[in-house]
């Protein structure tokens, strides 16, 4: 029997050899074997936001880096931020001087929105984010300070890899040319494509990549190292203004060290997973698409197929005497079921699963080979 908070007293042997409570076991109808979370294949089924319960197609989720565009987490305590509306107060002193038309505009109270955390009272105003005229979206984003340099490097190394590939091809072509067995079109003319372009006075076809190669500047080392500011030795430390490590790491791209640089964190999406039997590739569970639903389209839980064993009472075991153990076995199916109690010595040794993982690997490899051929 499985308990919510107590230890699991009755454990079942999964076909992979692991001992698990019945609540974390599956039963593959096609292999007629018990499976557990360890020996099945997990797959991402759909992306959704756990806050607004909005589904997101996986292509869009990839583009948005698995972040919801309308929900935010508090950068300070990671609680969900809520959007709060404010009727903008007409500020006569500032606007009167600005223009005469303001009085007309002021007649309609303008609503503005800001983000606020109910848990720790952090608001988007704390860090100077201007209030937004619309409730959803439009919040300014902060970017990675190193993104530009990274993209330069990426272009450079892509060009290097391209060049390497070309050189390799060239070498191979030469190898074949020496053998004289294979004659390609360029061999006949004695020209490579690049040489032909060169002779014709055309710019080399991969001008983009060679320009990247030429323009690349490696990082410049300097003798100056950023010194510790002198006021570090005299300044009071305001712990509230320094972010904790978890606050920094919640935004891996920026890692703000000061509280004033915290920025709302777009909420990370969650996924619904479907689970598959490794041996036969059939689905064991498949959730419903609707994020609000916790039901499954396919749900082959062991609980529905495998008799549940409960310990009703037991006596402590003493040497040389009989002890009583009262078990209750429930048949969850509507069909008759035969039950056999075995001596420990009669339990068949199963050595199926470790091999079957390798088998599935082999199987997928042969599949791969078939595909390649």
């Amino acid at each position: 029997m499985a308990y919510l908070i107590q230890e699991d007293y009755v454990k079942y042997v999964c076909s992979c050899g692991q001992l698990k409570p019945i609540t974390s076991l599956y039963f593959c109808r096609h292999c007629l074997k018990i499976r557990c979370g360890f020996c099945i294949c997990h797959e991402v089924d759909s992306h959704y936001c756990a806050n607004c319960l909005e589904n997101m197609p996986s292509s869009e989720a990839r583009l948005k880096k698995n972040r919801c565009s309308s929900c935010f987490d508090c950068p300070s305590c990671f609680h969900t931020l809520s959007t709060r509306a404010m009727i903008a107060q007409a500020r006569p002193s500032a606007q009167d001087g600005a223009s005469g038309d303001t009085k007309v505009e002021n007649k309609q109270p303008k609503k503005t929105y800001y983000l606020s955390c109910f848990n720790c009272r952090w608001t988007s105003r704390d860090v100077g984010i201007p209030d937004q005229p619309v409730a959803s979206g439009g919040w300014p984003e902060r970017t990675n300070p190193f993104a530009n340099r990274f993209n330069q490097l990426l272009d450079y190394y892509k060009a290097v890899a391209q060049l390497e590939k070309q050189e390799k091809l060239e070498r191979e072509r030469k190898k074949f040319a020496i053998r004289g067995k294979y004659i390609t079109l360029t061999d006949k003319t004695g020209l490579t494509g690049a040489m032909a372009r060169n002779i014709a006075g055309l710019p080399p076809s991969e001008s983009g990549s060679s320009a990247t190669l030429a323009n690349f500047t490696p990082s410049q080392a300097s003798a100056e190292v950023e010194e510790l500011p002198e006021d570090f030795y005299t300044k009071e430390v305001d712990l509230k203004q320094i972010t904790s490590l978890s606050q920094r790491l919640a935004a891996p791209a920026r890692q703000p060290a000061r509280g004033s640089r915290l920025w709302p964190l777009p909420k990370r999406l969650s996924v619904k997973r479907s689970q598959r039997c490794r041996a036969c590739d059939h689905n064991l569970t498949k959730p419903e698409y609707n994020p609000g639903s916790i039901k499954f389209k396919i749900e082959l839980l062991a609980y529905y197929h495998v008799p549940e064993v409960k310990i009703i009472s037991f006596e402590s075991v003493k040497p040389g005497t009989r002890s009583e153990l009262l078990l209750k076995v429930t048949n969850p199916t509507g069909h008759e079921m035969r039950l056999r109690l075995l001596q420990p010595s009669d339990v068949p040794v199963e050595e199926e699963q470790p091999k079957s993982i390798e088998k599935s690997l082999e199987k997928s490899l042969t599949l791969e080979k078939v595909c390649n051929n």
């Binding site: 294949c41 991402v44 698995n66 340099r149 190394y157 590939k165 712990l239 891996p252």
Partner: protein, 373 residues
């Protein structure tokens, strides 16, 4: 041909980059400037009802389970993609235990069925984000500080230096100093110690360190009252704030302090590359973020090189330092993201190759480091 390549590019799924550090794991996609998540290398273990660190293991089986759980967390909670048929770039130290990397390979290939794994060592990846031909990578991580010379994309293997001078050494010293400050044994959990370090500690300059050592200090920095939940606030004195990171610079007869091992690494490198290495020092790793550490390291190097035994053996007097093109804690990861994206994973160890040989190339292994005739 270009057409086929285009199709291949569309079909090739964006690879993921995994940097499984002792304390923090960096995980994200190739071609992106920052990891998607930086989380503690631990997972909730339901059977033991506690968070379990990936690096806490006694047997290969336990490590296998740890990896399965950790990768599940990373794939399905953080980057939200299917591990199957997707390449992985593994960022590893050159000193990663064989058991660790082989178990990781087994989990990735057989349990998660990834299509290929590119094994990349962090020093060369760090050199990649600099783009210079020579680089001296000083990586200060959780457990160890590693000094590695990279010359023209090759690691000078015999010159690698590593000492247990990482975050854990600082935490130990900090907790000792805090006990002295508060005159009790505080027994603070590791996470609080880390938080105190992040928020209050810094590395003072050389002159101050010398004065602390001689026992007649200048004005210590301001002390901080650090609040604890459910307990009285504790005092973090200015002395503690300044001296917590001192073990990294503590010299004894072993000459095993951080600046010492940097100089020793340079001495053991080929003579024609030493000057270039000293002028291309790159200090990285999460622990390098402590304010003032890099400046202090520079001062110590410039001083030590004029002292015996180095003054006779090194004629270098100039040291230059690189400013990082990525956040300190994810520099090696960013290198992995570059390397994986540049050649589209062409260097990855494919699954079918692994299935045939079931072994990894490794530099200490004679099979891989002897020349074939």
């Amino acid at each position: 041909m270009a057409l086929y390549e285009g199709i291949a590019l569309i079909q090739e799924k964006q690879a993921v980059v995994l940097d499984l550090g002792t304390d923090y794991t960096k995980f994200g996609f190739t071609g992106e400037a920052a990891p998607r998540c930086i989380i503690r290398s631990e997972f909730w273990c339901p059977s033991e009802r506690r968070y379990k660190r990936v690096h806490d293991y006694k047997t290969a089986e336990e490590l296998y389970d740890n990896f399965v759980h950790m990768l599940h967390l990373l794939y399905f909670r953080h980057v939200l993609v299917n591990p199957k048929e997707r390449k992985v770039v593994v960022v590893e130290s050159l000193l990663t235990p064989t058991l660790f990397r082989e178990t990781l390979a087994k989990v990735l290939f057989t349990h998660y069925e990834v299509s290929g794994v590119m094994w990349a060592d962090s020093p060369r990846l760090c050199a990649l984000i600099l783009g210079t031909p020579e680089a001296l990578i000083v990586s200060i991580g959780a457990r160890e500080a590693e000094v590695t010379a990279v010359v023209h994309a090759s690691v000078v293997l015999h010159a690698i230096q590593a000492q247990p001078l990482g975050a854990h050494a600082i935490h130990q010293e900090l907790s000792k100093l805090l006990d002295e400050d508060n005159k009790t044994e505080l027994k603070l959990p590791e996470q609080i110690i880390e938080d105190i370090k992040v928020k209050t500690c810094f590395v003072g300059n050389r002159e101050r360190a010398v004065q602390w050592a001689t026992g007649n200090p200048l004005m210590p920095a301001k002390s901080v009252q650090y609040p604890l939940s459910g307990r009285a606030a504790i005092t973090v004195s200015g002395r503690t704030r300044e001296l917590a990171a001192e073990p990294l610079f503590a010299r004894d007869n072993e000459l095993a302090s951080l600046p010492d091992i940097i100089l020793q690494c340079i001495i053991q490198c080929p003579i024609d590359s030493r000057r270039a290495l000293a002028q291309n020092i790159f200090v990285t790793g999460g622990t390098a973020t402590i304010p003032g550490l890099k400046a202090r390291l520079a001062h110590e190097l410039r001083y030590l090189v004029t002292q015996p035994p180095y003054c006779d053996r090194l004629s270098i007097r100039e040291f230059r330092f690189h400013k990082s093109g990525a956040h300190d804690n994810s520099a090696a990861w960013a290198g992995g993201a570059l390397a994986g994206a540049a050649d589209g994973g062409a260097r990855a160890l494919a699954r079918d190759v692994y299935a045939r040989t079931a072994r990894l190339r490794d530099w200490p292994c004679l099979l891989d480091n002897t020349r074939r005739h």
